[in-house]
Each structure stands twice: as structure tokens, then as C-alpha cells.
Amino acid sequence: MTLGGCAALMILFWDWRVALAGLLCVQSGLLALGVTLYDLPVHWAGLQLTVMTLTLLMLIITALQVQRPRARRQAGNWLVRLLAIVLFVLAWRVLGEGPPLPEFGSSVTALLLWLAFCTLLLLGLSDSPLFTAVALLLWMSMAQLIVAVLTPAPNLFVLIAGAELLISLAGSRLMLLDQEPLHARDLIATDIVFPYEEDMYADDDFGADDERAIDAGLPPLLIQDAIAALEGERPRVAPSSPPRNGHGVPADAPTDQRERMRG
């Protein structure tokens, strides 16, 4: 019940902190379930615990590095997500039980089906790399429990753990890439090229710090940086400004633009 509730909260709140905390709860709960109900060997549990810690650490560190880990592709409001959950519960009640899972009691089967539904809902509601990675890891932790109970082969367990680490690593990389600006703006061809404001700070980077600065009656950080530069201080480094070549043109700018600048 608690594990199911954690999974539901991940969907309802749709926040990276809740998602990762929920993932931790569900994975730990499934691990505890394996140890208490199905005599999962302690060293297997230790391995799973280590992998779980590493995957979560990777995702947390990445989420902290990116400025707005709460995805731009927001998955509707909480009411829509609540309705989706209620709809599934009703459908489950009407249609009855799911496929037969050997060796698992009815309550654990119900829990696994519920977690499977939550995973599919997480995947269906957003294409953000964070939530996709969380959903895939949720699914993989169910696979770990199934391996522990149905196919107790340590090598298989290790193989799935390796796949989990790779998924987490891939998710972290895409989260970092997702924050970079998509398009380089055209620049004016002069001897000294001044970058547009958007090039210095992508739209999404006008973040909470800037908002707080405005609320406090201060200019946004970009202007504060300019003042600091005039006063001889080192300005804040733009986190998303593309690397530039010797002509002041973004290195990833289209070929024609580079040609024009050199010409």
C-alpha cells in the first residue's frame, strides 16, 4: 500500500525531487519485500542497494546541475494526472485481475501490476529524460524482484544491475543535453560581434535567481554581470553560451553563417 502510494505521489506531484524520492522508496520497498518474503540473499540485496544508490546519485547530481530539471514538457496539471489514476483504478476493478504471475501472492501481484501501470503512465505523460529514466528504473526494479523470485541466478541479477547503471547514465547525459539551447541566433557581421542577450542566456535560463533579483528591486543577473564587468570584476560565466571561434561566431553555427563571417 505504501509503495503503491509512493508511486502514485510521483505522478501526482510531477516534481523531480518527489520522483527521485519516490523511486528510492519503491526500490527500497521492493528490496525489503524480496528479503523478507522471498529470502533474497543478503549479498544480492547489498548489490542492489549499491546500484540503487549509484543510479539515484547520478540522477540527483545531474538534476542539481541543470537549472530547471522540472521539465518544460509538463504533463498536464495535477487534476488530469489524478483523473488518469482514478480511471485506471476503476478499469482495474471492472476488468478484474491481470496476468497470472507464478510464485507471487495476490497482494504482491497487485502491487507489481500497480507499479507497472504507474511506469506506463510516467512514460505516457512526458518525454522528459528525467521522468523517462525514472520510469525505466522503476520497471527494472520490478524485473530485479522477478529475477530474485523466479530465476534466482546471480549472473542475471548482476546483468540487470549493469543495465540499470547504463540507463541512469544515459538519462543523466540526456538531461544535461536537454538544457542546451537548440538554435544559434544569427549574428550581425561587424568587426566586433556583440552576442544577443538570448545567446548569453537561453530563454529557460532566466531562472529563479533572476526573478528573485527583480523581486528584491535589483536588476537581473545579466545586468549585474555587466555592472561587475565595468567595475573590473569577473562576470558570471554564462552557463549555456555556445563556444565561439576566433570570429566571434558560435562554433556550432551553420556553415553558411561561418562562411559569411569569414568572408
Binding site: 507464478p102 541466478a153 544515459a170 556553415t255 553558411d256
Partner: protein, 473 residues
């Protein structure tokens, strides 16, 4: 007396070492891509021609004998080169070798840094094809291995704006628990052979797992996203390698567990999955103008037709599916080469920026269009004969899905005509450089190869027969 080196060890270790070397020398990535491409093609050719009846082979430069069929066991996993595995590994290495060689000429600078990752994938897929025994049957282990390899492929495909590429992991990851449950039923059936229900249930779980693993609609999205935003040659290689492995494993599954083909509705599931995939691919292709996304959807349409072909009962199904896959590989790599060249030259694949690019880059545009049309089954393109044969076989049982798929193909072809008008429209970017003569020559060669296969598909008879003998066990 020196002992002979085991081929699985030599092959895998040499590929992984090559990956490490390519990473260390990434400053010379174009040269490394060329050397690695030749290396993979040489291995692919050797394995294709190798006579596995001769137990020991002495390569000219190695100085030591290589035991071709020696097993290597590591942590309960047993790796042996079988005739089936040799064919699959050859195809894998040929696809990777061709991709690497093409990337040296047609890719943008950041794209030919894909060499180490492609070599790691080559090593991973080689290990999968060499695996003959494990804690569970290799066909039931395949989803886990494919999940790990797809996670590596994410790094290959990750690019700015490619956040949704992580979804290429959906089919293998979702299939893992399903096939693991099937494994429990298989072992239970072995302990209680009188109870036929156990084997039937196992077969159903395996069937469902493999339908998911093949990645039909709605598990397709990651591939289309990759086609839109990732480097095209890397996308083509990653897609073809995954699908080749999935097909290989499906054939192995059907040979190892005949109950999956006979005791379940697998054919019906595959047929419906294929129809929905082919229709959605065609309809979505009709609605898009982005050349990458269009290519992704047309490839999806083509994949749907292969799935339908797999569902058709009878002796023609397997050779036709393999023939379609061979044509698919040619068309996808042809289109990816053209798309890669357009992307590298124009700097973007936005339709507005591509306007008139065909005047300056006629050969690149031509191979992109011809490859894409091949995936849609357009007459006089590489894919036409395969599509036509598949439609005829489909129409023999029921003409309606065949007609619907023909309409979907027409939608995709219409979208290509629309894109050709953009490519040949008024030139948007007057500073766009013309193609160099070397690029033109290579593109013309690819075009000729594609046309030759379109006009004389019997050229593929040899490879398809070899694949057929190998894949049907």
C-alpha cells in the same frame, strides 16, 4: 607449443581494444573512422567466408593459430562461433564498417567522433551473437542484453534536442519481465511435461515479449526522435543493428521453442502490430516535412511491412523477411548518407533552410530521396521489389490491409515529392558550397549500387540464401 587463440576472445577483445584506441586518438577521428571501418569490413568479410569445418585458422599477421569453434566460458555464459552467429556477426560488422567509412566523407565533424561507440556496439552485439548458453536461454536473455546495448546507443544518438532518444530503450526494457516470467514457465514445463498448459503459458509470455521487443507502434517513438535529431548515419547503424539482433533472436526463439509459433497467436499479433506500424508510419510521414522525421517515419513504415511478412505463414515468409531487411539496410544507409551530407553542408535540417539546397548539393539530395523512396517501396528504387512481393503475399489472404498499406506508402511518397520541390526550389542560402568531386563520385557510386539492386534484385540472392540457411537453423 603455443595454444590456439579462441575466436570469441580474439574478436571481442580486438573490437573493444580498437574502441579504446579510437577514443585515445579521437583527435584524428576521420582517420580513425576510416581505419576502423576497414577493420570491421575485413572481419565481416573473413567471417562470411570462413569455413567453420576447418577447426584452426592461421591469419597471416597474427602469427598464432585461431580456433574458430573453441568455446569460451565466463561466469556461466558460454560463447561459441556457430554458423548462425557467424552470419549475424558478419552482417553487424559490415553495417558498422560501411557506416564508419561513409561517416569519413559525409558526416559533420562532430558526427565522425562516433567511432569508439560504434566499435563498442560491435563488440556488444558480437558477444550477444556468440552466446550459446547462459543462466537462462540466450533468446530469453536477449532483452536484457539489448537494453544494455540500447543504453550505449543512446550515447551515440544523444545530441542537442534529442532528449526523447532515451525512449529507444522502451521495447527491450518492457520485454524483460515478460520473458523472465516465460522462463519460469519453461522450467516448470520441463519438470512436469504432462502439463501442457505450462508450455502454452510460457509460449504466450514469450510471444508477447518478442512482439514488444520488435518495437512496433506504440513503442517506436525513440527511433523517430533519433531520426529527427541524432546524426543520421549513427541512427541508421543503431536502428539496423537492433532490428537485426531482434530478428535473429526471433528466428532462434521459433527454432528453439516451436510452441511459440504453433501454440499461440503470435502470427496474428505480429500481423496486427505490422499493419498498425506500417499505416502509422505512412500517415505520419504524409504529415511531416522535416527530412529527418520523414525518414524516421518511412523507416517505420518499412519495418511494419517486415513485421507483416514475419506473420505470414508458409515457406516464403522467412526468405522474404530477410530479403526485405537486406533492402532496408541498403535504403537506410543510402538515405542516411544523403541526409548526413545535407545536414553537414546546410547546418540544419529545417525545411526553410533546405530550400534550393538541391541545386548546390544535387548528389546528396538524390541519394537522400532515392534511399527514402526505397523505404516507401517506390518503383525503380531498391525497396520496390521487396514491397511489391510483400503486398502480393498479403493480398492473397486479405486484400484490404494490402490496399491500406499501399495508400500509406503513397502518402509517404507524396511527402517525398513535396520535399523534393523544396530541395529544388529557390535557393535560400547563396553561400552554400557546391559538392566536392570526391563526394560526388562516392554519392554517384551509392546511387548506382542502389539502382543496380532496384533493377536486378537477384544480386542479393547469395547473401539472402546464406542468411536463410543460417537463420532457419
Amino acid at each position: 607449443m603455443t595454444t590456439a587463440v579462441s575466436l570469441p576472445v580474439l574478436l571481442t577483445v580486438s573490437l573493444l581494444l580498437a574502441a579504446g584506441l579510437a577514443y585515445l586518438l579521437r583527435g584524428w577521428n576521420r582517420i580513425m573512422a576510416a581505419i576502423s571501418g576497414v577493420y570491421c569490413l575485413a572481419w565481416g568479410g573473413l567471417l562470411w567466408l570462413a569455413d567453420l569445418n576447418l577447426p584452426v585458422w592461421t591469419p597471416p599477421l597474427l602469427g598464432r593459430s585461431v580456433d574458430l569453434t573453441a568455446p569460451t566460458t565466463y561466469l556461466d555464459f558460454r560463447f561459441v562461433l556457430t554458423p548462425i552467429g557467424a552470419t549475424a556477426i558478419s552482417l553487424t560488422l559490415v553495417i558498422i564498417g560501411a557506416t564508419l567509412l561513409l561517416s569519413t566523407r559525409f558526416a559533420a565533424p562532430e558526427e565522425y567522433a562516433l567511432t569508439p561507440l560504434l566499435l563498442i556496439l560491435a563488440g556488444g552485439y558480437t558477444l550477444l551473437f556468440l552466446l550459446t548458453e547462459g543462466p537462462v536461454s540466450p533468446v530469453l536473455l536477449a532483452p536484457i542484453a539489448l537494453a544494455a546495448l540500447s543504453a550505449v546507443a543512446v550515447f551515440l544518438l544523444s545530441n542537442r534536442g534529442s532528449a526523447t532518444v532515451l525512449r529507444i530503450l522502451l521495447p527491450p526494457v518492457l520485454a524483460i519481465p515478460v520473458v523472465l516470467i516465460a522462463d519460469w514457465y519453461v522450467r516448470a514445463a520441463a519438470l512436469d511435461p504432462q502439463n501442457s498448459l505450462l508450455m502454452t503459458t510460457a509460449a504466450q509470455f514469450m510471444g508477447v515479449g518478442y512482439v514488444i521487443l520488435l518495437g512496433p507502434v506504440p513503442f517506436h517513438w525513440g527511433r523517430v526522435a533519433a531520426a529527427e535529431s541524432a546524426p543520421p548515419l549513427a541512427t541508421a547503424a543503431a536502428t539496423l543493428l537492433y532490428q537485426l539482433a531482434a530478428l535473429f533472436m526471433l528466428f532462434q526463439l521459433l527454432a528453439q521453442f516451436p510452441a511459440v509459433g504453433q501454440g499461440t497467436s503470435l502470427a496474428l499479433w505480429l500481423e496486427w502490430a505490422g499493419i498498425v506500424t506500417a499505416l502509422w508510419g505512412g500517415v505520419a510521414a504524409f504529415g511531416t516535412l522535416h527530412p529527418g522525421r520523414l525518414w524516421g517515419y518511412v523507416a517505420l513504415h518499412d519495418w511494419g511491412i517486415i513485421l507483416i511478412t514475419l506473420a505470414v505463414a508458409g515457406t516464403r515468409s522467412l526468405p522474404l523477411a530477410l530479403f526485405l531487411f537486406s533492402l532496408r539496410a541498403v535504403s537506410m544507409l543510402t538515405a542516411a548518407t544523403g541526409l548526413s551530407a545535407l545536414r553537414a553542408s546546410v547546418g540544419s535540417l529545417e525545411p526553410a533552410r533546405l530550400s534550393g539546397a538541391g541545386h548546390r548539393l544535387p548528389w546528396s539530395s538524390a541519394i537522400y530521396l532515392l534511399g527514402g523512396l526505397g523505404l516507401a517501396g517506390f518503383p525503380l528504387s531498391a525497396g520496390f521489389t521487396g514491397h511489391w512481393a510483400a503486398l502480393q503475399i498479403m493480398a492473397e489472404t486479405d486484400w484490404r490491409p494490402a490496399a491500406a498499406i499501399l495508400v500509406a506508402s503513397a502518402g509517404a511518397i507524396f511527402s517525398y515529392i513535396r520535399l523534393a520541390r523544396i530541395l529544388l526550389g529557390p535557393l535560400e542560402n547563396r553561400s552554400l558550397r557546391r559538392e566536392r568531386s570526391v563526394t560526388t563520385a562516392i554519392a554517384a557510386g551509392i546511387l548506382l549500387l542502389s539502382m543496380a539492386i532496384a533493377l536486378a534484385p537477384q544480386l542479393l540472392d547469395g547473401p539472402v540464401s546464406r542468411m536463410l540457411i543460417a537463420f532457419s537453423g
